[in-house]
Each structure stands twice: as C-alpha cells, then as structure tokens.
C-alpha cells in the first residue's frame, strides 16, 4: 500500500506536520484503512532521504515539524499517478485454494462450503453498504473506497457462483482422479505477492 505517495499527495497541498498528515489520510479514506503515526514518520523519513520532501532544518523532530514537498517529489507524484498498476501475476488467493482443496478432501460437500463463504461475503458487503447508506451521497472519499471494496467482494462472489456451476457439471466427484494429464503451463501461475 503506497502510503508514501499518498503522503506526497497530501503535502502537495501545502506544508503539514506529521500528525496532521496521519489524521488527514484517515479522514479522507473514510477511516477504513488504518495508519499509525509511527508508520507516518517512518515514511516521511524515507521520503526525506530520497529527496522528495524536506523539512525545516531543525534537528528537533517534534510533532509540529512541518514537511514540504520538493520539486523532485512533485515530479515523482505526478509520475506515480500516471503509472498503471501491476495487473500481471494474480496473487495467491486463499479462498481459491480452499475451494480447490475442498474438491479433493473426502466427505466435504463443496456446495455447502461455497455457501458458507458466500454468506460471509454477503454479510460483509452488507456492512459496507450500510456504511455507504449512512454516509450519504456526498462523502466522495468514503464512497470511492467502499465501492472499491464492494466490487472486490462482488467479484469474489461471482467467482464463487461460477466455481459452483463448474463443479456441478463435473461428471463424478470420484472421477476427478482420472482426469487426464494436462500439458504443463508455460511460466508460473501465481507469484509471490
């Protein structure tokens, strides 16, 4: 989670001190992503080391010390905004592994298992939707973050639906063992996050 770029963004509005940076970050992301003060200061130090921010030349690192963005930092910020994310190798997904494993483990009703996870997903999504509802239509920051999470969870829910449908169409659960060998896939699917 690129906290450093978020801090750069906040600093591009004007000089701020560390505590304030942390508060603003949380406020603007709907207080969903936790960020502790120590993390803030560590990141700020790294930024200063890299020449992207500067602070008052004061040896005192008190809480009221202002930080400013440099020209290099500004450039870095703009570069980062435009750079697309890494959509390459998919992360190793625990839920996917759970479902795959469940098809092999004897006496496990895969459909029931899927429903368990689905229910949990829906319950989580329900909480997010309530959050959205209570926040009203104008808290854009919160809405953006919540939408992102909802869509992510929704995607998982859809994957569960598809998985269930595929597994339903399997000829025989016990016949999985006799599935003919597949050609090896080039490269590796699944890389370390």
């Amino acid at each position: 989670m690129t906290v450093r770029h978020a801090l750069l963004a906040l600093l591009s509005e004007g000089p701020k001190y560390g505590l304030r940076l942390g508060q603003e970050f949380e406020a603007r992301t709907g207080e969903i992503w936790p960020l502790n003060t120590g993390q803030v200061y560590t990141t700020l130090q790294r930024l200063e080391r890299d020449g992207l921010v500067e602070s008052d030349d004061d040896a005192d690192t008190g809480p009221k010390k202002d930080f400013r963005i440099t020209a290099a930092g500004d450039e870095e910020l703009r570069r980062w905004l435009r750079t697309p994310g890494d959509n390459g190798a998919p992360p190793r997904d625990e839920l996917v592994i759970k479902v795959l494993v469940a098809t092999q483990v004897p006496d496990v009703h895969v459909a029931e298992l899927i429903q368990v996870h689905r229910r949990h997903l829906v319950e989580t999504m329900r909480a997010y939707s309530r959050l959205k509802e209570d926040a009203g239509e104008h808290d854009v920051g919160l809405l953006l973050v919540v939408d992102a999470e909802l869509f992510r969870l929704d995607a998982v829910s859809r994957w569960l639906d598809t998985a269930e449908a595929r597994l339903r169409r399997r000829p025989d659960p016990d016949a999985v063992a006799t599935v003919p060998a597949r050609p090896k896939l080039r490269g590796r699917v699944g890389a370390r996050r």
Binding site: R118, L121, Y128, S129, K132, E137
Partner: protein, 241 residues
Amino acid sequence: MSGVLELHQVAKSYGEGPNTVHALHGIDLTAQAGELVAIMGPSGSGKSTLLTIAGTLEVADEGAVLVEGQDVATMSANDRARLRRRSVGYVFQDFNLLAGLTAAENVSMPLELDGLRPKAARAAAHAALDELGVADRAGHYPDQLSGGERQRVAIARAVVGDRHLLLTDEPTGALDSVNGEGVMRRLRAACRRGVACVMVTHDAQLASWADRVVFLRDGRIIDHTSAAPGPESLLVPSAES
C-alpha cells in the same frame, strides 16, 4: 410478530408428467414492516416465481400466502386485484410505467382503479413522488424521464397510498451503478417509513443493501444471513490526537 408478508410451506410446479418443473419447495418466508429482505439466487432458482406468488400474480400449488394477515388462496381473482391495488406494490427491472400517462397519473393509477376520486388520488401521488425526490417530474411522460427517474416513479407507485408490501425484481438491473445506488437509497428510505420490502436479485451488491438475505437454490431456501452487526465494525478507531 406477524409480518406484512408470510409464506408458509409454499410450493409451485409447472408442467405435467415427466416435464414437471418444481419451481418452489417448502418455502417459509416472513417480511416485517420496515425491513428489506433480499432473495438471492442464480437464474432458475425460482426467485421470480417466489415474487409473483408473494404478489398474488400467481397462485401457489401448496402452502399459505398471507398478505397483511389475509390468506390469498381463498380469494377470487377480483379480490386479489383489490389486494394489489391497496396493499402490494410491484417494481420490475424495466417497463414499469404505462406509456401515455404522466408520472403523476401512473402513480395515482392504483388508487383510481380502487375508486378514489382523481383529486385525492393525484394529491397522494404527488406526495409519493416528493418522497422519492422526483416531484418536479410529475407532469412528464415516461419517455421523457431518465432510467433512474423512471424507477423512482415506479417505486412511488409501489408505495403510494399507505401500502405496506413492496416487491421488486432486479430494480436497478437496467441502470448504471451510480443511478442504481440513488434508487436503492430511496428504496431503503421508503422501507424505513414502514414498508416491508422483498427484493429478488442474483447480484450480491444489490443484495447487500438488504437487512436480511435469503439464499435460494433449486426452489429451496438453503441459507440466510445472520443478524447484521453495525457498520461501525468496519471503521478504524479514530487516530489518537
């Protein structure tokens, strides 16, 4: 507490002999005033049939359907029509409104069908449209309204005149997500004012708006969500000062 809608062991089949399709089996469902219940399931799960039976558009083969305490099975077709005029509101995914009537006239139609004088019916219609935030579009025809506005008018018609049961099938299916969200907000608000709302969908995001989600698969209820913890559970404690 008895709900606005109660389904007890409802079953419905179509076709005969080897071609029989058992659309619903042993359905038990209750919806209370003020709550939004979502029925979630893939296509073919029977969720649309459940809705049409709950709304008296179809008659169940077995089991009891009670709307505001009245058993639908004992009613004649005209009695069921009266129930739809007075107690039940329907919102479909699209094509809800009658072409040729303005928004206000569409909303007042159920009341006028019930015999209410046009003036009183129109007043009630305007009040409902106001609640849904589309009062300024009262005099427009459906083809002059946007998709979101049309759905809101449809919801207004479904809640006009002190109805307590609102049934809806993919209400935001034809809308983009921002418009859809607007509609769902209004729906929730209408719900809060004392309407029992049953929503049928296959979309998890839509279902997430409900207080309670019931999962339907192959005509049976296989699961339901537990009572919701508050949304606060998702929030981080505020940064210490």
